[in-house]
């Protein structure tokens, strides 16, 4: 018993710190509900302005997630399995859009949309990428493609290369191995990554602030609309939209926890 009590202050300190921090974070996340109250929350949730913004967020995030999955899954495989000179440098440059401040990414997108591929697209196809919903998709794609590639790399890293080696030794082609061995094994990781990437796309707004700007009902996805309404002093809208964003993030992460597994970025 003496053994148990000696140095007992350390677990007490750890558990105390953890409880206080957990309480603070819970208060932080629930402060909007406490502020707004039940009746006002219901009032704002029944307004169509809220749900128009919600569907705008959902469809832009879905489109940009699909685009970044198309790029991200093969890129993640390449980053996971191939070794080439300067691979750390290449990986660092691919990671830059998620590591630097998103405001910086917005400023840089503002710079490149006047340049080569973008001016060409707007001239020949009449698709202007800028202060419209295409700009929103570009901002979301820029951030989530890098994020998706990292998560896919982590999902493929979880699978030992031994299975591929066995498949090769039995005479399967690399493509067959990829589709019949690797993808089924990485399935859970890919689905979980997909959900997280979607949530990250729906959370992106700093780039929009510098690059796209606000058009009511066209480019104001929910996190950005929070900023706009906050500037307009509409605290009811701000807090009710924050509640929706928090619910989106928490439900995405809960779904991922149910799927299970682990994944890391960086």
């Amino acid at each position: 018993m003496a053994l148990r009590s000696r140095g007992g202050w350390w677990p007490a300190l750890c558990i105390g710190t953890a409880s206080i921090i957990l309480a603070v974070y819970l208060l932080l996340v629930t402060s909007n509900w406490i502020y707004l109250g039940w009746h006002d929350t219901l009032y704002f949730f029944s307004k169509s302005r809220m749900w128009e913004r919600f569907w705008l967020t959902v469809w832009t995030a879905t489109v940009s997630t699909s685009l970044s999955l198309l790029i991200g899954i093969p890129a993640g495989y390449a980053l996971s399995r191939f070794r080439f000179p300067c691979c750390y440098l290449v990986a660092s440059i691919i990671d830059l859009p998620i590591v630097v401040s998103p405001a910086v990414v917005g400023a840089f997108l503002f710079g490149i949309t006047t340049r080569f591929p973008f001016d060409w697209i707007s001239e020949y196809y009449g698709i202007y990428i800028g202060r419209n919903v295409y700009g929103v998709l570009l901002v979301q794609f820029t951030v989530t493609a890098a994020f998706c590639a990292r998560l896919m790399k982590a999902s493929f890293d979880m699978i030992p290369t031994r299975f591929e080696a066995v498949s090769h030794s039995l005479g399967a082609s690399p493509l067959r191995t990829f589709f019949k061995v690797l993808l089924p094994m990485a399935k859970n990781g890919i689905i979980a990554s997909m959900i997280v990437v979607w949530a990250r796309a729906a959370a992106e707004w700093e780039g929009l602030m510098l690059f796209v700007g606000a058009t009511e009902g066209k480019t104001d996805i929910m996190p950005f609309a929070i900023y706009l309404d906050w500037n307009g002093g509409m605290m009811g809208w701000v807090t009710s939209m924050s509640i929706v964003c928090i619910l989106m993030a928490v439900s995405a992460i809960s779904a991922v926890k149910i799927i299970g597994g682990r994944s890391n970025v960086w």
């Binding site: 350390w10 932080l28 830059l96 840089f108 690399p174 510098l210 994944s263």
Partner: protein, 305 residues
């Protein structure tokens, strides 16, 4: 045999092309904007009308003449000091928290895991609004009135709190994973040999978890440097405030009338000083690039879930 080699080559080329696309896109995004640093005739003409008096000579130079402006050095100083303070606080609070979440049975542990993971995909504006609502209304507001100071729109408690929220969550993601990966058996052996719980942690678990703790510190610092929205919502900008608004301590540290760097990027671009804004942005890119390169080199892992 040669046919198989050929198909292998095509296969590799297919996958390399996607990684190459991402690499080229990112490199093009960050490098093609170097010409934004050069001041154009049109910008000079516009500024004749709009700029504030004595700053005009500075602004009409390469990259807005940022190295001559005390605002730039003060902002960099402010950001570095606050991020280092944030990282220190996050480490001091985060290591016991991560250890407790990893080893002890705490009520609400699964809630904590979902909460810390979901902070990584939560919009920054929501974090900022949550901080504003938490500190500027209700009992914490009354407490501030009683004590006579403000958390929001201040440098010292305010900016540290705003950058701490996400920085702590990112550090935790690495620290908790490290303590999970250290076998608790080693500590039990140390305790059976007569050392106290604290000594067993200090001499057994901590050295084993060292590399993961360093990873968490780098992650926390990088995230604190990349913070934008929470600082923008909770603290705002300080450049236009009168000097009397700042305390002697802030002035002594050369942090008065300065902004968080990524907020300054936004403020300068919105103001029309594009070159100045891009100069600040390139400094952030340089810092972020070096830290992410270090992370890749040492094989750092920050777990999302």
């Amino acid at each position: 045999m040669s046919g198989e080699r050929h198909s292998r080559k095509n296969f590799n080329a297919f996958f390399y092309s996607f990684a190459g696309f991402l690499f080229l896109y990112s490199a093009y995004l960050f490098l093609s904007n170097l010409d934004q640093l050069f001041v154009t005739e049109a910008a000079v003409k516009t500024r004749e009308i709009t700029s504030w008096g004595e700053d005009r000579e500075i602004l009409n130079q390469f990259a807005g003449g940022f190295w001559k402006d005390p605002y730039f050095w003060k902002s960099l100083n402010l950001t570095l000091v606050i991020t280092i303070m944030t990282t220190l606080i996050a480490t001091i609070l985060g290591i016991p928290t991560a250890y407790a979440l990893s080893r002890y049975r705490i009520p609400g542990k699964s809630v904590a895991e979902v909460l810390f993971s979901s902070l990584m995909v939560m919009p920054g504006s929501v974090i900022g609004i949550c901080l504003i609502v938490m500190f500027n209304y209700g009992p914490l507001w009354d407490l501030q009135n009683l004590l006579g100071f403000r958390f929001a729109h201040s440098i010292f408690p305010g900016m540290v709190i705003a950058s701490l929220v996400l920085s702590f969550a990112f550090g935790m993601s690495a620290w908790k994973a490290t303590f999970d990966s250290v076998n608790p058996r080693f500590e039990q052996v140390a305790r059976s040999l007569g050392s106290s719980r604290w000594r067993a942690f200090k001499t057994v678990t901590l050295p084993l978890a060292k590399s993961g703790i360093v990873t968490g510190i780098i992650l926390a610092w990088t995230r604190a440097m990349a913070e934008f929205s929470a600082v923008l919502f909770f603290c705002g900008t300080f450049r236009e405030l009168p000097a009397s608004r700042f305390s002697d301590f802030t002035r002594f540290l050369q942090m008065d009338q300065a902004d968080w760097v990524s907020v300054a990027v936004w403020a300068q671009v919105e103001f029309g000083n594009i070159e100045y804004g891009f100069a600040l942005a390139f400094i952030l890119v340089l810092i972020g690039g070096i830290s992410v390169y270090v992370m890749h080199r040492i094989g750092a892992k920050g777990y999302v879930w």
